[in-house]
């Protein structure tokens, strides 16, 4: 991957308050069809 020439390189230190990793997606409860009257 051509990200540019090494001469332009500068350092950044990123220390997030919380790591940007999402938790598992919530499981949706199945929606029941309404019972016929």
């Amino acid at each position: 991957m051509d990200i540019g020439v090494p001469e332009t390189e500068h350092e950044i230190e990123i220390v997030p308050l919380e790591e940007p990793i999402p938790g598992p997606a919530p499981v949706e409860d199945p929606v029941e069809d309404p019972a016929p009257a």
């Binding site: 991957m1 051509d2 990200i3 090494p6 950044i12 230190e13 990123i14 220390v15 790591e19 940007p20």
Partner: protein, 153 residues
């Protein structure tokens, strides 16, 4: 001295989407059979510097571009599409069926070495993915596995 920030950097990159043990996983675009873990950060490693990657004056680290356009440009080069009727090709080109590619944004943090077109980072996790050459079922599997938004490109 390096800049210090608490906000992750958002970069752009490509992944192969490949079946491993009946599960679709994101795999490095350039390093053969290096899978990105789901639910935990991907950490840069280096055969020379071990866990110290990325290191100045070396090529180790997790790569990402600053702009989506650069990732799209790499995709066109990868599948050999340069021009379309004499003009620069603007649409995302098709990939070989059954060999999906994900183009997407990625959170980068830890120690990052930034250049004018991209980054080499210590830690990364996908942020949002666009699936090229896949279908809804693969998109759903990747979405559930990595817990990020995945849509068909």
């Amino acid at each position: 001295m390096s800049e210090l920030s608490i906000e992750p950097v958002l970069g752009w990159r490509l992944w192969h989407v490949r079946l491993h043990d009946d599960e679709y996983r994101l795999e490095s675009f350039t390093m053969h059979h290096v899978s990105w873990p789901a639910g935990s950060r991907f950490e840069a490693g280096c055969a020379v510097h071990g866990g110290g990657a990325p290191v100045h004056q070396h090529e180790c680290g997790i790569y990402a571009f600053t702009l989506r356009a650069y990732a799209e440009e790499l995709l066109r080069r990868y599948i050999g599409v340069r021009h379309h009727y004499g003009r620069e090709y603007r649409e995302l080109p098709p990939v070989r069926q059954g060999r999906p590619i994900a183009l997407g944004s990625v959170s980068l943090w830890g120690r990052i070495l930034a250049r004018e077109r991209g980054y080499r980072a210590q830690y990364a996790y996908p942020y949002e993915l666009f699936l090229i050459g896949g279908d809804e079922q693969i998109a759903r599997e990747v979405r559930d596995r990595y817990a990020v938004d995945v849509s068909l490109a």
